[in-house]
């Protein structure tokens, strides 16, 4: 049986100032009707570029293919096809779902208008028929109260709901191939499980081929028939999923499969004293409404959280987006205003003014999620790391400070000669190491880590986790590790706090929570994170 989509010798070259960059170097694959093919690789491997090439959505002429490139879809040659040919195919016979639902939906149009647009473009239907079809599609993708939501704008929906709308748009014309470019990366674990289940059901119902692009091997294991492993623009391994995962032949595939965060945290010393304690911590944001802007209610971001953290211990705070984890971390460090008792090493923090807090800041540091925005782009590495030293007058002169900086850079695994470089010259993982160096050079006792590995590739994640664990062991640090990624939390945390809507759902020792979760929500979270399963009872369709 001839394949529905046949790609041969795909080359994509981008012309940039200073030369040409070859993003994809000659890959070939076939996709048959009803099959699910997964393209796996880390960032920069060329997966998204491959998907965009199929639909000819690259920025031509800056991007170009080789003359031997062939992309054959059902007998039609797509590479270099005329724009009118492509317009007939896009959205109609081949549809695409993108990664970021917020930026992929037009914020100024209602969802009815956006889903209807693709129907108007490719089918002749009366407005009444279009409306009926839109409602049918929204119900199909599991959007609750579809009729009431027709007039909603994207910002009024949650991330999962927006992604469902995107899928509805993609399926409106019952395409032969659905290309999904990391469709669940930006979503929470439980929603991720639901969306994947939806895609699988819809694929079976319509007999679509699915080209799934992802960096998450768990998703590949669950969803795909065939897999292509890509790195640096080339395919290093391909085949049936079960076979490739059981017996990987290429080194890179082995490296990817092994790249889950390993290990368990070092046990805490039995005589460790409490370092950080919080009691009934609240962060409420007032909602002002009416002409006089009266406070009509509160957004209760953090609603009565309490815990105790000992020296050398890691508390993992898990929850989905909007649960208040980041707000908790910021409130603990007094970076945003909150109420409730906060104790650090016996001293109460909650009543202190900013000036009184300043000397204490040396002991409590924070690391952020996004390695690209957490380092000031105009300062060199030396200046970034030195800033804390200067503020707290550590090191008597610049030579002493320089020595401290070089020592800490070595400790986090960076080249001490790179002190004069700027952040944009480093990769994401290296930038996180710089951020770790910035925090560690002050020799703090407590570090709040706000999703430090979420924006990194899997293999880099494992390295950063190992580094954090090593630093904890060596210096006896206490961590508050905030994350939605349960695999990383399992590798680092002694205690776990599960948050939902600002409240504690469950708290306890990590081993107990992971192996025997008591609360239904925790069970749903575990099932979604580790098995990508949807537990119907606890999770509501979002």
């Amino acid at each position: 049986m001839t394949a529905l989509l046949s790609v041969r010798d795909l080359h994509v070259t981008f012309a940039v100032p200073g030369g040409a960059v070859e993003a994809v170097r000659g890959i070939s694959f076939d996709l048959s009707r009803g099959e699910t093919l997964a393209l796996v690789g880390e960032s920069g491997s060329g997966k998204s570029v491959t998907a965009l090439s199929i639909l000819q959505l690259l920025p031509y002429p800056a991007a170009s293919h080789a003359p031997t490139t062939r992309i054959a879809f059902d007998g039609i040659e797509l590479a270099g096809a005329r724009e009118s040919t492509m317009r007939d195919i896009r959205g109609n016979r081949i549809a695409m779902v993108f990664q970021e639902p917020m930026t992929s939906l037009n914020p100024l149009h209602t969802i009815e208008k956006q889903v209807a647009e693709t129907l108007y473009l490719h089918k002749r239907m009366t407005p009444g028929a279009v409306r009926a079809r839109v409602i049918e599609l929204l119900r199909l993708v599991g959007l609750s109260e579809a009729e009431r939501r027709l007039d909603a704008y994207p910002h009024q929906l949650s991330g999962g709901q927006r992604q469902r709308v995107m899928i509805a748009m993609a399926l409106a014309n019952e395409p032969d191939i659905l290309i999904a470019d990391e469709p669940t990366t930006a979503l929470d674990v439980t929603i991720q499980a639901q969306i994947l289940k939806l895609l699988r059901d819809l694929q079976q119902r319509f007999g679509m081929a699915l080209l799934l692009i992802t960096h998450d091997l768990g998703i590949v294991r669950k969803m795909a028939d065939q897999v292509l492993v890509m790195t640096k623009g080339e395919v290093v391994e391909s085949g049936i999923v079960a076979e490739v995962f059981a017996q990987p032949r290429h080194d890179y595939t082995r490296h990817l499969l092994a790249a889950e965060p390993q290990g368990r945290p070092q046990p805490v010393a039995p005589d460790a004293t409490a370092l950080v304690a919080a009691q009934d911590l609240k962060v409420w944001f007032p909602i002002r409404s009416g002409v006089l802007r009266r406070v009509s209610g509160h957004v209760k971001a953090v609603d009565g959280i309490g815990f105790e953290l000992r020296r050398g211990e890691t508390l993992g705070v898990v929850g989905e987006s909007g649960s208040g984890k980041t707000t908790l971390g910021l409130a603990l460090l007094r970076l945003i205003a909150g109420e409730g008792l906060i104790r650090f090493d016996g001293q109460r923090l909650d009543g202190l003014s900013e000036r009184q807090m300043r000397p204490l800041r040396r002991e409590m540091q924070i690391m952020f999620q996004d390695p690209f925005s957490s380092l000031s782009p105009r300062l060199s590495v030396a200046q970034i790391v030195e800033e804390g030293l200067k503020v707290h007058h550590i090191g008597r002169n610049s030579a002493e400070r320089r020595a401290l900086i070089e020592q800490v850079l070595l400790e986090v695994g960076l080249d001490p000669d790179s002190t004069e470089r700027y952040p944009h010259e480093f990769s994401g993982g290296q930038r996180q190491r710089i951020a770790i160096a910035r925090a560690m050079v002050l020799k703090p006792r407590f570090v709040v880590l706000d999703e430090p590995t979420s924006a990194l590739d899997m293999s880099v994640q494992a390295q950063v986790v190992a580094l954090l664990r090593e630093l904890q062991r060596r210096h006896g640090l206490s961590y508050l590790f905030i994350s939605h990624d349960l695999r990383v939390v399992r590798a680092l945390a002694h205690q776990v706090l599960v948050m939902k809507d600002g409240k504690i759902v469950e708290a306890g020792a990590a081993q107990q929570i992971f192996e025997r979760p008591a609360h239904a929500y925790t069970r749903a979270l575990m099932a979604a994170a580790f098995d990508l399963e949807v537990v119907e009872s606890a999770a509501t369709a979002q």
Partner: protein
């Protein structure tokens, strides 16, 4: 783990002793790539530097006089006529043929290329003032017999200096105000914004007219009033940048380190805010120059007798039969403003992050 970037050619990171980041280097290259703006900058700078030495180029005194073996510099100091063997103890009038003969008898003098100051009235005109250009007055004279070219050079200097000073001072004040509003937000922002709204409604021209009725406005008065009333230009831009940037992670990280607010504003937020601000500065400069010119044209600017482009334009309007007045003023002003606009475009190109050469 070693860094991924290969050993880059580490050119010296400093230009004129100032640290230059790779980003700044790229911006400078982008600026140079805009040939028109690049050359405009050099031409403007050359003209400005030349005009700074106006006293040595257009003056009714010689630059250097050698008399009886001694060197005198009439450009810099006043000498009585008796120094050169004259009769009067008053200041020597070097244009007087008698004084010239006295000096030439016992020495020599070096005249500047244009032997007129901006207020020197040429009594020996071939035709009634305003007289057309000839060998003596290269661009003719204005309606009081003063050399147009000399007035042009001094006028260019005053306009540019006024514009530069006004731009620099109003930018400093505007940036500071915008920074405080944007960074702190809340009531400070609200209060300041309302104040600016009220303040910007004060009519500049009427205030100047009122002022000129009881005090003779000179350069500093004008500068002061203009500064007090037009510093608001940059506030909105800087305020928006600060409002945006104060939520960035690296600002939060700096505050978590314990850095105080003013230091965070200057070290972390300001460099990013300056990008859009710097693209505005050439246009503010040309606006300031135009402001002074218009005030002079209306008669509410510099005191009468001061050399200025606006006054030249006014004379041009009043003496249509002497086209060299109006045309000179027009072309010089057009040249000046065009150069500044070209420079402004090149600066905008330099800071455009998407521009690919």
């Amino acid at each position: 783990m070693s860094t991924s970037a290969p050993a880059l050619e580490r050119r010296s990171d400093r230009i004129l002793g100032l640290r230059v980041t790779p980003l700044t280097r790229r911006r400078m290259a982008n600026f140079r790539a805009n040939r028109r703006g690049f050359w405009s900058l050099w031409v403007f700078l050359a003209l400005f530097v030349i005009s700074l030495f106006a006293e040595f180029i257009a003056n009714d005194r010689p630059i250097v006089v050698s008399y009886a073996g001694h060197l005198y510099f009439p450009v810099l100091a006043n000498y009585p006529e008796t120094t050169f063997g004259g009769e009067f103890p008053t200041e020597a009038d070097y244009r007087d043929p008698h004084v010239q003969r006295l000096i030439e008898a016992h020495g020599w003098m070096v005249w500047p290329p244009i032997p007129f100051h901006y207020d020197t009235i040429n009594y020996a005109l071939p035709s009634p003032a305003p007289s057309p250009p000839d060998a003596v007055d290269w661009l003719g004279t204005d309606d009081q017999g003063r050399d147009v070219l000399a007035r042009l050079i001094y006028g260019f200097r005053i306009s540019t200096l006024f514009g530069l000073t006004l731009t620099v001072l109003s930018s400093v004040i505007g940036i500071a105000a915008g920074a405080i509003q944007g960074y702190y937000g809340g009531l400070i922002d609200l209060g300041f914004q309302r104040f600016i709204e009220l303040w910007s409604n004060i009519p500049v021209l009427f205030l100047l007219i009122i002022l000129s009725s009881f005090v003779q406005p000179n350069f500093w008065w004008l500068l002061g009033i203009m500064l007090a009333l037009t510093w608001m230009q940059l506030v909105d831009l800087v305020r928006a940048e600060f409002l945006r940037a104060r939520n960035f992670d690296y600002v939060r990280a700096a505050r978590a380190l314990g850095v105080s607010n003013p230091v965070v504003m200057v070290r972390h937020v300001l460099p990013n805010a300056m990008v859009s601000t710097l693209t505005f500065v050439p246009f503010i400069l040309s606006g300031s120059i135009t402001t002074l010119t218009s005030l002079d044209f209306l008669g509410f600017g510099l005191p009468p007798g001061s050399p200025s482009l606006g006054e030249l334009l006014l004379q041009g309007k009043n003496n249509i039969t002497a086209p060299w007045l109006g045309l000179t003023g027009f072309f010089v002003l057009a040249l000046m403003l065009s150069l500044l606009i070209f420079i402004g475009e090149a600066v905008r190109d330099a800071f455009d992050p998407r521009k690919v050469r």
